[in-house]
Structures are given as structure tokens and as C-alpha cells.
């Protein structure tokens, strides 16, 4: 019997593997591609050095007033001087701890469903989650907590964007789920009402809804009632979000196998037991990436509030730019800062969403 001696593995030739191989394959595979690569590299070589020097090397970082903007580069002093307004609007400086606390609580309330054990989650996590917008608003307002009263006219800045977006999606969750259930219902009138609601709040431009909220809503209420502007905005955002989320849930429902409904029926569960115990958890899990995407969209849309006079971060930037102490064209620095802030948040959330999507994929495969 001949003994079989396996061949040892040899390293690959240099041209096809390692860094040289990579460069050849990915940057210069064909003549046309090579030309394009060279053009792009040339273009980058011309603008990147100038960009870097404007952004960082020549820029002004220290100082407190317009006078510190002496160099040719970006004047980041503008950003640091206005930082408090960018983040907190005109909220009184002494009370800013309230906003910080509210944001922390928001983070805790969102993380709670993942960290709490199962039974506590439903009894404690969910009610906390739903109560947060109301408690948070009352806290920032101050009167119910015995703190100094801060009218909503002074609320502003990036924290306002965060707060409005979160408060809206939290209440939109149950509302949109109900609308989505109604849309699936066999009762024709209920189904029609829900379809009209969903299509209306999805189809009308957000700005139109805001205008309706500020111009038409006062006509709908008896003479003399004065609904707080921010409250009106919040209601509009909730309705708008619910329209989009209802469609997200609709896709989620479709992704649940018919067999789940049948198994629940065959056990004898009632409609609401079946919906809340079996269907709801699965729908939320399956729809999570889309829910996050919708939230990101809503978050970006909070900048539209500038147009109706809410002092969120973009509006604050406009105010800062036109302030008489700071004239001199700092538009680029201001917008870049706001863009960076939003980009970090939105990109981060989209990474989380992609992560969840990947986890969902593997769990479904098993």
C-alpha cells in the first residue's frame, strides 16, 4: 500500500495577494478604471489639503467673541460661544440640569425593555415608557414639580429636537398599532376610517400639517381656548408619525406566518389576548429596523419646525448667524456643526438598525 503524503501549502504569488494584489484588483483592474482612479486621486489631492487646513489647521478655537476670528480658517469660536443656545435654546441657565436629567431618564426608559427581566418589563418598563413624555414635559415646565416655571417659549435647541421626536414616537407607538389593527379588521367601517386616517397623515406634506395645526386648530376650538404652541406641534407630530408607523406595522403583520394566529386561536385565546401576547411582540421585533428608519426621518423633520417659529437647533443657528455681534459669514461653521450633530445621531441609529436587521436574519434562518 502506498503512503499518501499531502502537499504542504505554499504562500500565494505576490502579484495576486497581499497589498499589491489588492491595489491591482481594486484600483487598477482595467485601463478605464485605472484612469478613473487616477482622476479621483488627483481631485482628492487638490481639495483635501485645503479643506483640512481650513477646518483644523488655520482655524480659530479659542476665544469668546467675534474679535477672536482672526485667521483664514474656520472660526469655531462662533460655535463654542453659542453652544448653550444650540443645545438648550433660551432655557434659564440655572435650570438646565433639568434638561440633562430628562435626557438621561429618556435613555434609561429606552434601554429598560432590553435590560429588565421579562415580567418586570411589561409591568414597569412599558408604563414608564409611555408615561415619560408627560412626566418629562411637566418636569421641564416645572409647575407640577414645585420648580421654577419655564414657559415653552424658552424651550429650544437640539435637546428640543430630541425631546419632541422621542415624545412623539412614544405616543405614536400604541396609536399607530391600533390604526394598523383597524386597517386589518373585517369591520368595513372601522377599516375605512383607519385607511383614511393613515393615508391622510402620510400623504399630506408635514409642513401643511404644521400650518393646519397653528392656523386651523384654533378655529376648531371654542373661542378663548388657548392651546400651547408646542403642545399643538406635539399632537401634529404624533398623528404624522402614526400614519407612517401604521404602514410599518402593516408590513410587520404580513411577515408573521398565518400559523401563529391559528395556533393562538386553537388554544382558545381571545382576540385581545392573541393580539397582545402573541402578535404584538413578534410584530415589533420584525418591524424594528423600519421603526428606527421612520424615527430617523421624524428626527430630521423636527428641523421643519423652524418655519413655524419653534426654536429648535436650526432655528437657533439662523438666529445666531444674524446676531449683530457675529456678522461676518459664519454660515459654513454653523451649518457644519449642526450637520455634524445630526449626522452623528442619525448615522449611529442607522448602524444600530443594521445590527438589529442582521440579528433578525440569523434568528429567522434557524
Amino acid at each position: 500500500m502506498k503512503e499518501f503524503k499531502p502537499l504542504p501549502a505554499r504562500p500565494a504569488p505576490i502579484q495576486t495577494a497581499g497589498p499589491i494584489g489588492w491595489i491591482r484588483n481594486n484600483l487598477f483592474p482595467t485601463p478605464l478604471n485605472s484612469l478613473v482612479t487616477l482622476l479621483i486621486l488627483a481631485f482628492l489631492a487638490t481639495i483635501i489639503p485645503d479643506l483640512v487646513s481650513w477646518l483644523f489647521i488655520d482655524a480659530d478655537w479659542e476665544g469668546e467673541t467675534q474679535a477672536a476670528c482672526t485667521s483664514e480658517g474656520a472660526c469655531w469660536v462662533f460655535v463654542s460661544a453659542w453652544m448653550q443656545q444650540f443645545l438648550y435654546g433660551s432655557y434659564p441657565t440655572d435650570e438646565i440640569w433639568r434638561i440633562n436629567l430628562a435626557i438621561l431618564v429618556l435613555g434609561a426608559v429606552i434601554a429598560a425593555p432590553y435590560l429588565l427581566p421579562k415580567d418586570l418589563r411589561n409591568k414597569v418598563g412599558v408604563p414608564l415608557f409611555l408615561a415619560f413624555p408627560f412626566v418629562g414635559a411637566a418636569f421641564l415646565d416645572g409647575r407640577l414639580f414645585g420648580l421654577e416655571f419655564v414657559s415653552t417659549d424658552y424651550w429650544g435647541g437640539f435637546t428640543l429636537n430630541i425631546f419632541l421626536a422621542s415624545a412623539s414616537i412614544i405616543i405614536a407607538f400604541p396609536l399607530s398599532f391600533l390604526w394598523a389593527l383597524g386597517r386589518r379588521s373585517d369591520m368595513p367601517f372601522t377599516k375605512s376610517v383607519c385607511i383614511v386616517l393613515i393615508e391622510f397623515f402620510r400623504g399630506v406634506p408635514v409642513l401643511a400639517l404644521f400650518f393646519m395645526g397653528s392656523v386651523m386648530l384654533p378655529l376648531f376650538f371654542p373661542e378663548g381656548t388657548n392651546v400651547d404652541k408646542l403642545l399643538r406641534v406635539w399632537i401634529v407630530l404624533i398623528l404624522f408619525m402614526s400614519g407612517y408607523m401604521a404602514e410599518v406595522f402593516r408590513g410587520g403583520f404580513a411577515a408573521i406566518p398565518q400559523g401563529q394566529y391559528e395556533a393562538a386561536d386553537s388554544l382558545g385565546l381571545s382576540y385581545w389576548q392573541k393580539t397582545l401576547l402573541i402578535i404584538l411582540p413578534q410584530v415589533i421585533k420584525v418591524s424594528m429596523p423600519n421603526i428606527l428608519a421612520t424615527f430617523i426621518m421624524l428626527f430630521k423633520n423636527t428641523t421643519f419646525l423652524l418655519i413655524i417659529g419653534i426654536f429648535e437647533i436650526l432655528s437657533t443657528t439662523q438666529t445666531a448667524l444674524s446676531n449683530s455681534n457675529w456678522l461676518g459669514g459664519h454660515a459654513a461653521e454653523g451649518y457644519l456643526f449642526v450637520a455634524l450633530v445630526f449626522w452623528v445621531c442619525c448615522f449611529g441609529m442607522s448602524l444600530i438598525s443594521a445590527n438589529i436587521e442582521r440579528k433578525l436574519d440569523t434568528s429567522h434562518r434557524s
Partner: protein
């Protein structure tokens, strides 16, 4: 069970079952819902009527025939302060359609290029595509509009120091000034020749397909078609002695007169809308191409098909199944987002009608209703056209 017991139980069930019958329950729930909605709307309507009377707000659509009293920055039809509100509505509508159409056009081009670029073998191009999408998707649209309007376009030179291209196109802080093509008598023939060229090319395409079915010979439709579409009008121009002249914009005083003016508001809005919406379209194109199983390309290659043909005959048709519905929602999104024109003063429907006109007349209900109806209709038309297109690219499946 005895007969008597059976009868008893049937009667017992009959009495209890009215409410327990699922159909009756459904009726009762819906009736309650109807009552609730009815009460809600009744309240709203009575309050509104009372409030309108108290504030002296008129109702009805008569205002559409009264003079508006204000000028508009850019109008596609003749308009001035004596024009009626009805005309204001039309001007705004046309401006909205303009910015939406141009935005959709460029967004689609950018989106498809960037979407396909993702699959390039060239690492740099792939990265550029990813950077483009991830950057512009995560920055709010309004911020991008402001950036283009207040940061970029505001930094352009004054009219006297305009950037110019060939002494006929000028770019400055007041806008983009292009020469206008003005037709002389006889120009109609050229236009006619162009459309005739389109029609003829369409027929040639059908004839070529038929010929290929019958004889297997392929006909260069693309090159022939291009030749005809460009050649016929050229021929007509030569025959009629080039019946066009260009009206150049000229610097008179502080600004340009003549030619076509593209105001910076329109430019900023269009660029921002195109770049922003382009990212979502690029994602849609990427999802569509990825949805086609790799086995399709492998099978096509093993038959010996060329790469270009594989793309156009195998990949793209299948990818369109995924892309078209996404395009539908993105186009509608763009139209809705065009209302941001208000923020920079571009006179779209929203700005001139829900903005200025509503402020002056106070007739919120009629104006908002008309405006919303318009956006609904525009989006329904887009939906209808995209659904027609979708149906034509859908796969036939076993029901």
C-alpha cells in the same frame, strides 16, 4: 340528551347569542365608532362656524376672483399685483410642478448612477458611492437647503463680477442667467420635425423587434434612432434658414436683463432636493440589484451573453420589481418636501397660497383644502403612473 333538553338549550342559546354573535358585535362596535366620530365632527364644525363669524372671516371661494395685491418673484405665466388669487394659485402650482419635475429628474439620474456605482470593481468608486449616501442621507433636508442657499449661493460674486461661461451664461448671487432661445416664424417646423423624429423612431423600434423575431437579425435601433431624432430637426433648420436667435442676458445697471433667469431659490431647492432624494434612490437601486440572485448572472454568462446585455436584459428588469415601488414613494416624498420652499422664499404653491394669500384673506379652510387637494392629486398621479410601470415589469407568478 332528551328532545326537551335540546329545545331548552337551543332557546337559551338564542337569547344569549345576540351579543355573542360576532357579526352583531362588529355592528355594535362600528355603530359606537360612528357615534363618536359624528359627535367629534359636529363639535368641530359648530365651533369653526362660530369662530369664523366672530372674527369676520368670510367663507366661500369668491376670493379667488379678487385681486391679490402682491407680486411674485418668479412666474411661468404673466402675473402682477392686479392678478386674482385664482391666478396666484395657478402660478404657485406651476412653480411647484417645475421644482418637483426637475428635482425628480436629477434625483433619478444621481440615484441610479450612485446606485450602480456601488457595484463597481473600483474600490474608490464603491467608497464614493457609500460616502455620498451615508453623508447626505443623515443630514436634515432643510439644513441642506439652507447650506446651498445661505452658504454656497450667497457666496457667489455680485452681478458685476459674475462667473461667466463663454460670455453667454452668467452665474452670480442673483441667479443663473442663460440665453433664451426665441423662435422666429418657421421655428414650428423644427419642433414638428423633432416630434416626428420621436414618432418615427418608435415605429422603427417596433419594426426592428418584429424583424428580429422573424429573421433573428438585430437592427441598430439606438444609433439609428438618435440619428433621426437629431438629424430631422437639423435638416428642418437648414431648410428654414435656422429660425432661431439667442437672446443673451446683458448686464444693465446692477442686474441682468433678457434671457432666462434661474433664481437662486430655485437652484438651492432643486440641488438640495436632488442630492437628498438621490441618496434614497441610490439605496433603492442597490436593493433592487442585490435582490437579483447571483445565479442569474452566472446562468447568463454560461450561455455566452455579453456583460452589457446581461445588465439590460437580465439584471435590470428583475431589479426594477424592487426599485419601482421604492421610486414611487421617493418621488412622492420629494413633492411633499418641495414645500420647504417656504423657508427660503421660493414661490411654490405652498408659499404663495398657504403663506401669503392665507395671511391676507384669512380664509384658512378653503385655502388649505385646495392646497392639500393639489398635493393629493399630484401624488395620486405619480402613484398611478408608477403602478402602471410596475405592472409592466412584474413577474407572472403561479397564483
Amino acid at each position: 340528551m332528551s328532545q326537551e333538553q335540546r329545545n331548552q338549550s337551543q332557546v337559551a342559546t338564542a337569547n344569549r347569542s345576540f351579543f355573542n354573535n360576532p357579526r352583531n358585535r362588529a355592528l355594535i362596535y362600528q355603530f359606537l365608532l360612528l357615534l363618536g366620530l359624528g359627535y367629534f365632527f359636529y363639535n368641530i364644525v359648530s365651533n369653526t362656524l362660530a369662530n369664523m363669524e366672530a372674527r369676520g372671516i368670510k367663507s366661500g371661494f369668491d376670493f379667488l376672483f379678487t385681486a391679490s395685491g402682491f407680486d411674485i418673484l418668479m412666474t411661468l405665466i404673466p402675473y402682477d399685483a392686479t392678478s386674482t388669487y385664482g391666478r396666484t394659485f395657478v402660478v404657485g402650482l406651476l412653480n411647484t410642478i417645475l421644482v418637483s419635475a426637475v428635482g425628480i429628474f436629477f434625483a433619478t439620474i444621481i440615484g441610479f448612477i450612485m446606485g450602480v456605482a456601488y457595484f463597481s470593481r473600483n474600490w474608490l468608486i464603491n467608497r464614493l458611492s457609500i460616502i455620498y449616501v451615508e453623508t447626505f442621507r443623515n443630514i436634515p433636508l432643510l439644513l441642506q437647503v439652507f447650506f446651498w442657499y445661505f452658504a454656497v449661493l450667497a457666496a457667489l460674486p455680485s452681478p458685476r463680477e459674475s462667473m461667466s461661461f463663454g460670455e453667454s451664461i452668467f452665474l452670480n448671487v442673483r441667479g443663473l442667467f442663460l440665453p433664451e432661445v426665441v423662435g422666429e416664424p418657421g421655428s414650428n417646423w423644427v419642433v414638428f420635425a423633432f416630434f416626428a423624429g420621436l414618432g418615427i423612431t418608435w415605429y422603427i423600434k417596433k419594426w426592428a423587434k418584429k424583424r428580429q423575431d422573424e429573421t433573428g437579425e438585430q437592427f441598430p435601433v439606438l444609433s439609428t434612432g438618435l440619428a433621426i431624432i437629431l438629424g430631422l430637426p437639423l435638416l428642418a433648420m437648414l431648410i428654414t434658414g435656422i429660425p432661431f436667435y439667442l437672446e443673451y442676458p446683458e448686464l444693465k445697471g446692477f442686474s441682468f436683463r433678457g434671457g432666462v433667469t434661474v433664481i437662486p431659490e430655485l437652484m438651492a431647492l432643486t440641488v438640495a432636493l436632488s442630492v437628498y432624494t438621490g441618496t434614497f434612490i441610490a439605496e433603492a437601486v442597490r436593493a433592487g440589484i442585490q435582490s437579483v440572485p447571483h445565479g442569474q448572472t452566472e446562468a447568463a454568462r454560461s450561455i455566452g451573453m455579453k456583460e452589457r446585455k446581461i445588465m439590460s436584459l437580465i439584471i435590470v428588469p428583475q431589479a426594477m420589481r424592487v426599485i419601482v415601488p421604492l421610486l414611487n414613494s421617493e418621488y412622492q416624498s420629494l413633492v411633499k418636501n418641495s414645500t420647504l420652499a417656504t423657508a427660503i422664499g421660493y414661490p411654490d404653491l405652498f408659499t404663495v397660497f398657504v403663506g401669503t394669500s392665507l395671511n391676507q384673506t384669512g380664509q384658512a379652510i378653503e385655502i388649505v383644502f385646495m392646497t392639500m387637494a393639489v398635493y393629493f392629486v399630484i401624488n395620486m398621479i405619480i402613484s398611478f403612473l408608477m403602478n402602471r410601470f410596475n405592472a409592466s415589469v412584474a413577474l407572472v407568478e403561479r397564483k
